[in-house]
């Protein structure tokens, strides 16, 4: 997502927390940040898919990032938020513990991902950034949304379709 990186080589990030760690996502993928609202469960979806919400007349799926990263789940709090991201025409809400700020991180402050960061599979990450004393884990939204589970969703869908067909053919 290079379009928001200016010539000086900065990255503008939305910074949020999840299980006491600080994460950042490229602001260009973020549509908006909303408060928690009623989520309608959808059966037969992977467990990290919490359901769907009504976002001004649109049906938007919401995923729980803690479940996505296999972190310990927690109760929803006053500061819980849904970060609505959009990528390749797909809009998805991500539940996070809280959203703290928007900041510009110079490129030279970022590094490739070390093999293990705080229990989150490094496959979801595109690096780590340093902001003063703080370490910010930079998420790769594409992988957050799609890795494995997307393949799995596709597989499940195929299986279901196959099942449906089988049933129909009997």
């Amino acid at each position: 997502m290079g379009k928001n990186n200016n010539a000086g080589g900065e990255e503008q990030l939305v910074v949020f927390t999840l299980a006491n760690e600080t994460y950042g996502v490229d602001i260009s993928t973020v549509n908006e940040i909303i408060r928690m609202q009623e989520i309608t469960e959808v059966p037969r979806t992977p467990d990290f898919v919490e359901g769907v919400i009504n976002l001004r007349g649109r049906i938007v799926p919401v995923i729980d990032l803690r479940k996505r990263f296999n972190l310990e789940t927690s109760e929803e709090t006053q500061s819980s938020r849904i970060i609505v991201v959009e990528l390749n025409d797909i809009t998805v809400g991500m539940i996070v513990d809280s959203v703290s700020e928007v900041l510009r991180l110079p490129k030279e402050n970022t590094e490739p991902t070390p093999p293990m960061v705080s229990g989150v599979d490094s496959a979801y990450l595109k690096g780590v950034g340093k902001w003063g004393e703080q370490l910010i884990i930079l998420l790769d939204i594409n992988k957050v949304l799609y890795k494995e589970e997307q393949e799995q969703i596709a597989r499940t869908a195929e299986e279901m379709a196959a099942m449906a067909e089988d049933n129909g053919d009997e």
Binding site: T40, E41, P43, R44, N54, G57, I90, M160, M163, A164
Partner: protein, 689 residues
């Protein structure tokens, strides 16, 4: 052929040919019954003529030639020296079939259809035809395709209005010019050049037509060349000079056209007598040269209509919300001026949006005649082939359906009608023995009923015998023998929809029905329809198909289960019953309820959808009986909420398709309710397998 690119007209040509072929088809069938109808004959003639003209100009010579010879035969009908007999109609219908093949060859790019045999038969019919004067004489002389093309090209792309303008202009001493302008290949702004050409010509006369259309020219949808037809009192050279003086014009071809006598042939009626001609001239004199009239219909891209429908959906949601908020305000603040006026506004908006929705739905509607109109021909052919006399009646041709539904409904109806004739109706001898009228009757009917379209196909044939159907089903391994004994007669009928039930031979021998009934079923399921069978042995069979009016906005039954609200599309809800859970029976360890003599399998919604669910302990529970085509199941739910208009929204690509869910909808309070897909639920339940 002109050098211009014809591909842009191909779609138009195919569409038009389709229409005209249909017109011919219908016309010929009617003519067979109504031999002296001159208006009808003229209509048929015009249709053939239109195809001839447009195909010649597109370079589809076989079509042009064939229609040309059809025209000659029709001519002899008109002149009264050939009688309209079944045999001649047969040949003409055969021509239509061949034209259909030729037309399809255009799309597939094949060129294997041989028309020479048919042509010879047509020619022999025409032999000895006296040539009358005027246009027909001209047509007869021109028997090679290239000549036909020359003659027809002139009138090719003219609408009736344009022809009128041309005729009127010529009678008033204007000349008509056909101009072809080639722009310089280096010309950068082609549309601007074209505009300058039109602008300069404006002072000299009136441009009647351009090829391509002015819109396309404005959008630069043309190569180097464009053509135009104008009427003017100026000389050919002057016009040529004016165009020549413009920059970046490579070449100008101009000819006076059409000649006055060719013009007369625009009129496709028989050549006029001197007296008639004079009166026509008088009439034409009254016609002022008018600007091209704006036609009464507009072609709209279907995607735009779909989009309108989506927006309408949004509006319906907001309307529902407004009603809900209004209700809340009233209950918290109590009745008062403010809440009263909000009430009033909300009622008003509800009415307006209702009307708007109606209008938009109307815009997507087609009369079902588009599907029905091909059936008379089919019935005629089938009855001749099977040596059965059939009275075929169609009612409700004008009934309108959403275009998506129209596209799907044709095939199932063909199957049902064909079955009725092939297997339902007995042979004349058999009917005589049974004391029935020798002619069998097949009735096709369409009408609106509440929010549904009902189509019925009915015959007075031999009907279906449930015992024989069971017998065949067991033989084919569709059900076991023990199951067959238990099955109710009405349920037995539904076995004909099972795939594998119908191979023509066995079934037509035994029960007399069932070619591809599973295909019928799958088509109807696809558009959320239901199908029911009524049959009486010896008395006939009636199929009733129920279809939703539209697929985007639906009325739905809202229910609550496990604390969540779900919506059943009302079109799939057959009825609602209450079942005492202590009184359910078991059949093969599965819950069933006895409903009017049929066993209805019962399913809890949570099992069909894999929901987390806690039983609320109630004993008497509502059961929603739902159906898709012939299958019915009962779904046990916690409570009924009510009926409401809903807009189906997709769950989106990220979640994808989920078995049993058709999407989601937004309720009046802003919450999201899942819409159940009855077809998916029934598949999951395994009923009918």
């Amino acid at each position: 052929m002109t050098g211009m690119d014809m591909s842009q007209y191909l779609d138009l040509f195919l569409e038009e040919a389709e229409e005209q072929l249909q017109e011919l088809d219908e016309g010929l069938i009617m003519l067979e019954q109504d031999k002296q109808n001159v208006d009808l004959l003229n209509r048929i003639f015009r249709a053939a003529h239109t195809i001839k003209g447009s195909s010649a100009s597109m370079g589809f010579n076989k079509i042009a030639e064939l229609t040309h010879w059809m025209e000659s035969v029709l001519d002899r009908f008109r002149d009264g020296d050939l009688e309209v007999t079944q045999e001649v109609i047969d040949i003409l219908l055969e021509c239509l079939d061949t034209l259909e093949i030729l037309k399809n060859e255009i799309t597939t790019g094949e060129d294997s259809c041989d028309i020479s045999g048919l042509m010879d038969r047509l020619k022999s019919l025409r032999e000895g035809a006296p040539t009358s004067e005027g246009t027909e004489a001209i047509t007869d002389e021109r028997e090679t395709v290239s000549e036909i093309y020359e003659a027809e090209m002139d009138e090719l792309f003219f609408s009736d209005t344009e022809k009128n303008v041309l005729r009127a202009a010529v009678t008033q001493g204007y000349k008509s010019y056909h101009i072809i302008v080639d722009l310089d290949p280096d010309c950068l702004m082609k549309s601007v050049r074209a505009y300058i050409v039109f602008n300069n010509l404006k002072d000299l006369g009136e441009v009647i037509k351009t090829i391509p259309t002015t819109e396309e020219i404005e959008e630069e949808k043309f190569e180097q060349r464009f053509e135009l037809v104008m009427v003017s009192k100026e000389s050919l050279d002057k016009i040529k000079g004016v165009i020549r003086s413009i920059n970046e014009i490579k070449e100008v071809f101009i000819r006076e056209h059409p000649k006055a006598e060719t013009l007369r042939s625009y009129n496709l009626e028989k050549p006029l007598s001197k007296k008639e001609l004079d009166s026509t001239k008088d009439r034409l004199r009254d016609v002022k040269i008018e600007k091209k009239r704006v036609s009464q219909t507009v072609r709209v891209d279907v995607s735009r209509l779909d989009n309108l429908m989506n927006l309408m959906g949004e509006l319906v949601i907001e309307r529902t919300r407004l009603e809900a908020v209004g209700g809340n305000i009233k209950s918290t603040l109590g009745a008062g001026d403010l809440s009263d006026s909000l009430d009033e506004i909300s009622v008003h908006i509800a009415r307006l949006s209702g009307e708007l929705q109606e209008e938009i739905m109307q815009a997507r509607m087609f009369p079902i005649d588009q599907v029905f109109n091909r059936f008379p021909r089919m019935v005629r052919d089938l009855s001749r082939k099977s040596n059965k006399e059939i009275i075929f009646t169609i009612d409700g041709r004008e009934t309108e359906l959403d275009r998506t539904v129209i596209e799907e409904i044709g095939d199932p109806l063909i199957h049902l009608i064909r079955n009725a004739i092939d297997h339902g109706i007995e042979s004349p001898e058999e009917r005589r023995k049974l004391g029935k009228p020798e002619k069998g009757t097949v009735r096709l009917n369409a009408f609106h009923q509440e929010n549904q379209i009902v189509i019925t196909v009915e015959d007075d044939g031999r009907g279906m015998d449930p015992d024989k159907i069971k017998e065949v089903s067991v033989k084919k391994g569709i059900i076991t023998e023990s199951a067959a004994e238990k099955i109710m007669d009405q349920d037995a009928m539904n076995l004909i929809f099972a795939p594998g039930f119908s191979t023509t031979q066995t079934v037509s021998d035994v029960s007399g029905r069932g070619v591809g009934m599973d295909i019928v079923k799958s088509h109807i399921e696809r558009i959320n329809g239901l199908i029911d069978i009524d049959t009486e042995i010896g008395g006939g069979t009636k199929f009733t198909i129920r279809l939703p009016l539209t697929l985007a906005i639906n009325r739905a039954l809202l229910i609550k289960h496990g604390g969540h609200v779900f919506a059943f599309p009302l079109g799939n809800v057959v009825e609602i019953i209450e079942v005492d859970m202590d009184e359910v029976q078991y059949m093969k360890q599965h819950k069933v309820a006895l409903v009017r003599g049929s066993f209805l399998p019962l399913y809890e919604l949570e099992t069909l959808l894999d929901l987390n669910y806690e039983n609320n302990g109630a004993k008497k529970l509502p059961v929603v009986m739902v159906g898709i085509s012939e299958k019915r199941i009962g779904i046990v739910v916690d409570e009924l909420v009510g009926e409401q208009e809903i807009v189906i929204k997709s769950l989106g690509k990220y979640i994808g398709d989920i078995a049993g869910l058709a999407g989601a909808t937004i309720m009046g309070d802003g919450s999201v309710a899942l819409i159940l897909d009855v077809r998916g639920l029934i598949t999951t339940s395994g009923v009918g397998d």
